[in-house]
Amino acid sequence: MSHETLVEARDVSLSLGGRKILDRVNLTLSKGKLLTLIGPNGAGKTTLVRIVLGLMQGESGKLVRKPGLRIGYMPQKVFVEPTLPLTVERFIQLGARGLKVVAANKVLDEVKVGHLLRQQVSALSGGEMQRVLLARALSHSPDLLVLDEPAQGVDINGQTELYELINTIRERHHCGVMMVSHDLHLVMAATDEVICLNQHICCHGKPEHVSNDPAYLALFGKRQAATLAVYTHHHNHDHDIAGDVIKPKDGHRHV
């Protein structure tokens, strides 16, 4: 294990109820690298994420974590009981007990939702909640970020923005990122390695390589693969979190 390695899985296998969920999966998560996990429903993506997080154990194989590894986890969906009154600030402080108010402010600003500090968690929209979860994952300065479909329920403009944000965070904090995502066309540019999972690892490597791999094409079909073609549609403006139009820097341009 090199000192850049954060988590290393060797031949991890797991069956649940007689069904093979994971079959001899290998992966390495390294400092500063972004690994994207793709695969059809029921491929074992979430199971693999849970094993990396230590929420589950494989039956065989080996999982080595760097000693003292701090993981920031962003679950697929978080539901906070409406009977539990909780501000966003408090929600983030729960993640890193002892975190100062200023620091909660800082991580929220970093994911560009500083204005939500005093909002109730149960009143957040889907997109706001995703960013607040990202802020909580960042709050205890993690070595590794594990994101399970971070852009779920976020509109297409928000998705691009969120993935850019994740990439910025990775560069700024120099942490490793493991991400489950179906939006390969959006994450392609930033991803160092793609693992295509369907119980076993079908193929892995650079995104360009994976999207041309016969195993990938067999799994997702040509049509899906075609959506990987460069995304050319551009808007002439963006929206900020509050939904207001942000004028592009070079004036109002029509394409």
Binding site: L53, I71, Y73, V78, V80, P85, T87, L94, G95, A96
Partner: protein
């Protein structure tokens, strides 16, 4: 004033003050049926204690702890849906408890006191049990408040962030079981859950942080005890139902106010 009233008031206020914050967790975690089951099963403990003639208070505490542990184990196994499991345990323990009580020829057993509480018969020894339990519970609650909150908000996030979630959850459940064990004297087996839930639910409307809700629930619970004991003293109504009725009135008054959004 009479000793028994002073004992009753002290015991009632102490238990209400702890039932407030612990009741918040019952509401947040949707455990109200869980509380009911523990309370019902403690009647089996009472019946067995009477047959074996051992200390009642001790028997209730032990049986609550044992059934809390059984529930935790069964919940982990997930053989049946939790509510089905709770229903089976709640009603079969209640049935067996009543069966054993009726077969034992102890005629002096006042069943009504166990079912609906008998606050005004609290002895000095009862009070010592209650004070000791409440002090321990208050200390634990204060110490683990942040941890309990984190595991209630999101279990898996808490695990990844390094909390020993399983052990904390077991502790929380045991603490609720202990409170139920000592509160049985106040409102009885059938009304205990209401002392946990009603003040917490009432306080929700007024709170914007978990701590405000916990404090509010404690205050509303104490008001209900004060009102209930007063009613009971002047109108000679049973104390347990009077307390629950007062809590319910507080709840209705708070929810009758129009919503003010900030």
């Amino acid at each position: 004033m009479y000793d028994f009233i002073i004992y009753a008031v002290i015991a009632g206020l102490l238990i209400a003050a702890l039932a407030g914050p612990l009741g918040c967790f019952v509401v947040w975690r949707r455990m109200s049926y869980f509380g009911d089951t523990l309370a019902h099963s403690s009647l089996l403990g009472v019946a067995l204690a009477i047959v074996a003639s051992i200390n009642l208070q001790l028997a209730i505490i032990i049986s609550c702890a044992v059934f809390a542990a059984i529930l935790l184990l069964l919940e982990k196994r997930q053989m049946l849906a939790t509510d089905t499991l709770l229903g089976i345990i709640a009603h079969s323990t209640l049935a067996f408890g009543l069966l054993i009580l009726s077969l034992s020829d102890m005629v002096q057993v006042n069943l009504m006191a166990f079912l609906f509480g008998d606050l005004l018969t609290i002895t000095q020894q009862d009070l010592i049990w209650i004070v000791a339990t409440c002090v321990v519970l208050a200390g634990l609650l204060y110490h683990f408040w942040g941890e309990f909150l984190a595991l209630t908000v999101h279990k898996e996030l808490a695990i990844v962030e390094g909390l020993p979630v399983e052990r904390l959850y077991a502790l929380l459940v045991l603490m609720i079981a202990m409170l139920i064990a000592v509160a049985m004297k106040i409102v009885g087996v059938l009304l205990i859950t209401s002392l946990l839930i009603i003040p917490a639910a009432a306080a929700r409307r007024l709170a914007s942080t978990p701590e405000q809700m916990a404090l509010g629930a404690a205050i509303i619970g104490c008001l209900a005890v004060a009102g209930g004991v007063t009613l009971s003293f002047y109108l000679d109504t049973p104390a347990g139902p009077s307390i629950v009725a007062c809590a319910c009135v507080c709840f209705l008054l708070i929810y009758a106010r129009p919503v003010t959004r900030v």
